[in-house]
Amino acid sequence: MTAVRDRELPRQAVPGAPLLEVTDLRTYFSLDGATVRAVDGVSFRLEQGEALGIAGESGCGKTTTALSLVRLLPPNARIEEGSVRLYGIDLVEKSPNALRRYRWREISIVFQGAMNALNPVNTVGDQIAEPIIERLGLDRKAALQRAGELLELVGIPRKRADAFPHELSGGMRQRAMIAMALACDPAIVIGDEPTTALDVMVQAQILELLERLRRDLGLSLILITHDLSVIAETCDRVMVMYAGRVAEEGPVGEVFARPKHPYTQKLLAAFPNIHADRRTLEVIPGSPPDLRDPPPGCRFAPRCQFAMDVCRTDVPPEVTFGDGVRVACHLYPQGSDGVPITTPPDANGTPP
């Protein structure tokens, strides 16, 4: 693989700062005069070479969180508060033009359903070469050469560079999209449900590809999916979101083996078991709150079987425990050491 850029940090990088640190991010949409609090105080961190999975029901703000990082938001959205520090540089503060320099070069995105994410009238080769020419300043010949290498890296024969998107299968298009995301050798690759639109066989192949790339290239990855088994297989850490907030976040092994937050427990129970014992699936009763007018305390309280009075009035603070797991739940106050203050009466649910 030809080296196209020296992995030099941006000039304003703060020495010793983590790769990505998101603090108290709040992204709201205006919708018919109302405010949709889609992301409402999300914090997380991504270290070099790490893979973070973001899980949660549809509509909980996963995509909005990801798009907020490089402000790729629809016109009715605004980042109300918070910071997104890449190498310590706050991207929220950047002007649109200054921010543009961080897009794709530092943070690239593999979108869901590559059918529409690729331009139908351009060849895939040209589309992979475009950011190399435009952002890294290589000439067309070198860029096409590099595009060919990237295609081979993702398992597409180089000669398919002349193909138009409609001439490729769904899986091939998603591979091409991944090649595109790697074009500028970015610091972070975000996959927003990168396999959702594909059939199961192809999903597995794409995930395998992502895992291989992560191993070989040392990618730092944010993988958004509602498929928990994907996170279990691919990621180091998992962040479970509920209604615009972080419910629980921590190392994949810990969170999946001993889920603390009642929502995480329900989510794991609602999923075909990762360890393949297919017991009957539990459905989480009720539905997520209306984000125009969320409940005042814990947003999960209305659906939570352990809800206490305090849950309906006070927002639970995020507490980090010794095992590296961060939980926002009144069952786990500061100093509880990860043991819930009241043992859940429901024996059917996994005891926390």
């Binding site: 139908p120 950011p131 435009e134």
Partner: protein
């Protein structure tokens, strides 16, 4: 572009033209009045024997099918469209040849101006949606779109023929003028061209702007445009390299389909400004029941529409790889 794509489109165009020739044949046989009456109009003392002789000579006594049809197709394909009833001695082909150039000049230029202005205005408005140009452009476009040609033309006439007399409003050249140089000729032609050309272009520009505007707005919300934004490309590059090439596709089809209406509009614009093209010819032929000329005009215009659609299909094939199969 695949050879089979081109061949298929050519084949379709050929079939359509054959159908047009057949319809043209049938249509004029259903018209009221008999040809011999028209020919002998104004001739005193017409005897039935004279009529009979004429019918025999013109082949009108032969059966319609197959004799008349075969004769019609053979002569049409060999470029013999008969003689004008009115301009005695002139073939229909001669008449058409004189009148086609003014029409091509006026509407060819009119389309080009409208396409350039309309697409540019529409693309800019859609790109800067909600901005002042969009607001102004959209209102003007809607007004122009809903104004019939003749009203627009009459408006110009009213202003320029009666109030301000800056520009000629009648004909293509000043009658009887002798030109000292080709430049003088062009200047005279240009002056006569301004108002009809403005009418034609303004009549079309609104529609093209409206379609281009909505097309570009739709394109700008496509996922691939979002991908281009995610890549950190500049807004200008996104517009030029991603949005415009895709947004142009529906306008190509529109312009081609539109050509039929443009030709209908040609009649009114030409009549309003007395432009000596196919439009005024049609009206003259219609009032005089000059059936051979009318038939020739119909044939010519229908074939022009078919060819324009063929060109649009081929252009579309160049622009959109998805249809080239």
């Amino acid at each position: 572009m695949g050879g089979s794509f081109v061949a298929r489109r050519l084949g379709q165009a050929a079939i359509t033209i054959v159908a047009i020739i057949l319809i043209n044949f049938v249509l004029f046989r259903l018209m009221p009045g008999s040809p011999e009456r028209v020919i002998l109009r104004g001739t005193p003392n017409v005897t039935p024997e004279r009529i009979e002789a004429l019918r025999e000579r013109w082949g009108l006594n032969d059966p319609v099918f197959p004799d008349q049809l075969v004769a019609y197709i053979t002569s049409t394909l060999t470029g013999d469209l008969g003689y004008s009833f009115i301009a005695r001695g002139q073939t229909v082909v001669d008449v058409l040849a004189q009148r086609i150039w003014p029409t091509i000049l006026l509407f060819g230029l009119g389309e080009m101006v409208a396409i350039a202005l309309g697409l540019a205005l529409g693309a800019y408005s859609g790109w800067r949606r909600g901005g002042p140009i969009d607001y102004l452009g959209n209102s003007v476009s809607l007004i122009l779109y809903s104004t019939p040609y003749f009203l627009l033309g009459m408006g110009f006439l009213l202003v320029f023929a009666s109030s301000i007399k800056w520009l000629p409003t009648f004909g293509m050249l000043t009658a009887g003028r002798v030109y000292g140089s080709p430049f003088e000729f062009l200047a005279d032609l240009g002056a006569h061209l301004v108002l009809p050309l403005a009418t034609v272009s303004l009549g079309l520009v609104g529609q093209y702007a409206i379609v281009m505007r909505s097309s570009i707005i739709e394109t700008l919300s496509e996922d691939y445009v979002n991908t281009a934004r995610a890549m950190g490309l500049s807004e200008g590059r996104i517009l030029r390299h991603h949005a415009l090439p895709n947004a142009l596709l529906p306008t190509v089809t529109l312009i081609a389909i539109n050509l039929g209406y443009v030709i209908a509009g040609a009649i009114t614009v030409e009549v309003v400004f007395n432009w000596p093209g196919l439009g005024t010819l049609t009206v003259q032929a219609l009032t005089a029941r000059d059936y051979p000329v009318l038939q020739g005009v119909f044939l010519l215009l229908s074939v022009a529409v078919v060819l324009a659609n063929l060109v649009a299909d081929l252009v579309y094939g160049v622009l959109d790889p998805r249809v080239r199969t």
